[in-house]
């Protein structure tokens, strides 16, 4: 009876819900976050714990997981394969590529974001749209497009060969440079947008105030603009760094067999070698590293965040 009545009067239902939300402080907070919290619990936290459990197991003969509670996988990751510390090298390479990419995006993205933020509002929106236009096409398609441009019989090499500038095709694809180029291309917009958001918020009379007080362009930037846009730098760097270090598609397609990153290692372990325990251990080490790096970076960003 009561339910029927509530259905007839949505206003009453809404006010009832409001009353419930307004209840005690904790109840309200729990009520508001519960859908997202539930989602994260089921699809993130529990799988994560499963990965952790698997990482302490062993690969059975048929590729199944044998829970033997061993640290073997972790020891293997940090140990030698033959003569070389293979996994540590892959890991270090991923870290290096991700750092270089983040730095590149920051150095190229900052002036661009600054330029866009200083334009009149109308042109600003048009320029932001241009920044986001690549997202209209699938990332995979765009990566293949890069391959068409860079490969031995690709656009650039063909052009140079025809013009007689080179005798042999330049090795543009399937190396570390190509991977960095692909990542840079893919993640630059993710750097520009948070940077733009924080530069746009900057009160430009502060820039004038600094100049008025005798600061030249460089000192104005270092003492006023940079500190006040740090939140954007931190946010943009994290958003670029995290997916870069775990990148899979770009190194797979543009790095060939030569540039293996952690993402490719994980794919091999899970899908080709079917060594889930070792893959899980590698995945966990990656996650902890990213977590540590992010925390340190957040700290260095200071109270502005």
């Amino acid at each position: 009876m009561a339910i029927v009545e509530q259905e007839r009067s949505p206003g009453r239902l809404a006010s009832g819900l409001l009353r419930w939300f307004r209840g005690s402080g904790t109840g309200q907070v729990l009520g508001l976050i519960s859908p997202a919290a539930l989602w994260l619990l089921i699809f993130f936290l529990i799988p994560l714990l499963m990965v952790l459990l698997v990482s302490f197991g062993e690969r059975g003969d048929a590729g199944q997981v044998v829970y033997s509670w061993t640290l073997k996988n972790y020891v293997r990751f940090f140990g030698k394969v033959g003569e070389r510390y293979l996994y540590i090298r892959i890991f270090a390479r991923s870290l290096g590529i991700a750092l270089i990419n983040t730095l590149l995006c920051l150095m190229m993205g900052y002036p661009l974001a600054y330029f866009i933020a200083r334009q009149p509002t109308r042109r600003r929106n048009a320029l932001l749209l241009l920044v986001m236009i690549p997202f209209w096409t699938n990332f995979l398609v765009r990566t293949y497009a890069w391959m068409v441009i860079l490969r031995d019989t690709g656009v650039i090499n063909n052009l140079f060969l025809t013009l007689g500038l080179i005798a042999q095709p330049l090795p543009l694809l399937y190396n570390q440079g190509a991977v960095i180029l692909g990542l840079f291309y893919g993640y630059l917009p993710f750097m520009i947008l948070p940077l733009y958001a924080s530069i746009e918020k900057l009160d430009f009379s502060l820039v004038e105030a600094a100049q008025d007080l005798g600061a030249n362009a460089l000192r104005t930037f270092l003492r006023v603009v940079l500190p006040l846009t740090t939140p954007g730098i931190v946010a943009g760097s994290i958003i670029v760094f995290i997916p870069s270090i775990g990148a899979y598609v770009t190194p797979d397609l543009m790095g060939g067999a030569k540039v293996t990153m952690v993402g490719n290692l994980l794919q091999q372990q899970f899908l080709k070698v079917r060594d889930w325990p070792f893959g899980s251990a590698a995945g966990f080490i990656l996650m902890l590293t990213v977590l540590a790096a992010t925390l340190i970076y957040f700290r260095s960003g200071g109270e502005t965040l």
Binding site: L206, A209, Q211, D212, L213, G214, A215, L228
Partner: protein, 365 residues
């Protein structure tokens, strides 16, 4: 001989097709409190920004301490600015804000500390060194902005509507404080405002601007008592405008016919031409309301009170003297008895409005 702190010579500033400043010339004396007064969009802020170095004149020249400053960037000019919204650095403490300019000039650390302390004392901000701008009230932020500018001992301090964001009472306090401060430091102040009362209160001289043009430059008294055109008379204070025709001239006075059978006497400096159409202005507070016509030579018109508004200090009357001619009169309420105003007339009463010919201004159009 008086020295000129800032000279603006025939300066024109165009933004695209818009002329923001149209052939402005100013000579601002050393140690002077000089105001640029005008409605928004009159070019006063643009003029100030050209002196600061944030804008370059399209034509003309700016001189600071007799040196042309064309091409000298803002950070190399010996001027400092107090911005409309203060523009305090939010990521720095009060002391760091004030020290910024000295650090840029590479003043030794010990001297910076001493001068910052001195500047904060002067701005009456003791014990605020470690606060952030966001932890200060509007008035305190205002003082930090002043201290941050004055600590550099600039040749000229530029102030862009610095009191605009404060409430009325605080604004009045700060007006007197600013004037006092300027007396003490002896620095030339160039002050931009749209508030005529503020300009009158603080300035040694005022330039009234409108649509990019300087209409009149003068002391507050000159600007108020002898406005040289209708805009200035209208913008500063309240004014009655009467239009009429010159019908006679004698002894430095002209007789002006402002309506059928309504004649008034107006003093003229130069030759007033007969039969010319002119506008005269009379301030409402110069006019008295009388029951009997006064003896000549006072100007006097008979009329009927149409409106009486009591506003505490004064009472405002509106008197109709002829079809379409209304005169506003302001009388101070000197006697503190309820119901007893200086003139206890009421709506509909027959009265005489009277004023001295000397209080009548002849305006050029």
């Amino acid at each position: 001989m008086e020295t000129i702190a800032v000279e603006v010579r025939d300066v024109i500033k165009r933004f695209g097709n818009v002329i923001a400043v149209d052939r402005v010339s100013l000579r601002i004396r050393d140690g002077e409190f000089f105001s640029l007064l005008g409605p928004s969009g009159c070019g006063k802020t643009t003029t100030l920004r050209m002196i600061a170095g944030f804008e370059q004149p399209t034509e003309g020249e700016v001189f600071i301490a007799n040196r042309p400053v064309a091409g000298v960037p803002a950070f190399e000019r010996n001027t400092n600015m107090v911005f409309q919204n203060y523009a305090l650095f939010p990521h720095m403490t009060v002391a760091q804000n004030v020290a910024f300019g000295l650090q840029m000039k590479r003043v030794p650390r010990a001297e910076i500390k001493q001068r910052v302390t001195g500047a904060l004392e002067m701005a009456r901000l003791p014990g605020m060194e470690d606060r952030r701008p966001s932890q200060l009230s509007g008035g305190q932020q205002q003082r930090v902005a002043l201290a941050r500018a004055l600590v550099n001992r600039p040749a000229v301090l530029l102030l862009d509507e610095p009191l605009g964001a404060l409430d009325l009472k605080l604004r009045k306090e700060m007006q007197l404080e600013l004037k006092d401060l300027q007396d003490r430091v002896g620095i030339t102040f160039i002050y931009v405002t749209h508030d005529q009362e503020e300009a009158l209160t603080m300035s040694d001289r005022i330039a009234v601007m409108h649509e990019g043009i300087v209409l009149q430059i003068g002391t507050p008294t000159q600007i108020y008592e002898r406005p040289n055109c209708r805009f200035v008379a209208d913008f500063i204070g309240e004014t009655n405008f009467l239009e009429g025709q010159v019908i006679a001239q004698e002894n430095g006075r002209v007789t002006v016919l402002i309506g059928p059978d309504l004649k008034i006497q107006v003093p003229v400096d130069a030759e007033g031409k007969a039969d010319t159409q002119i506008t005269v202005a009379i301030r409402p507070e110069k006019i008295r309301l009388l029951n009997e016509p006064p003896p000549p030579p006072a100007n006097c018109l008979a009329g009927i009170i149409q409106e009486v508004v009591y506003i505490g200090t004064d009472t405002h009357f509106q008197v109709s003297v002829a079809e379409g001619i209304k005169i506003r009169v302001r009388q101070q309420n000197r006697i503190s008895t309820p119901d007893q105003r200086a003139y206890s007339g009421d709506r509909g009463d027959q009265v005489y409005v009277a004023w001295a010919p000397e209080s009548t201004l002849l305006l050029r159009e």
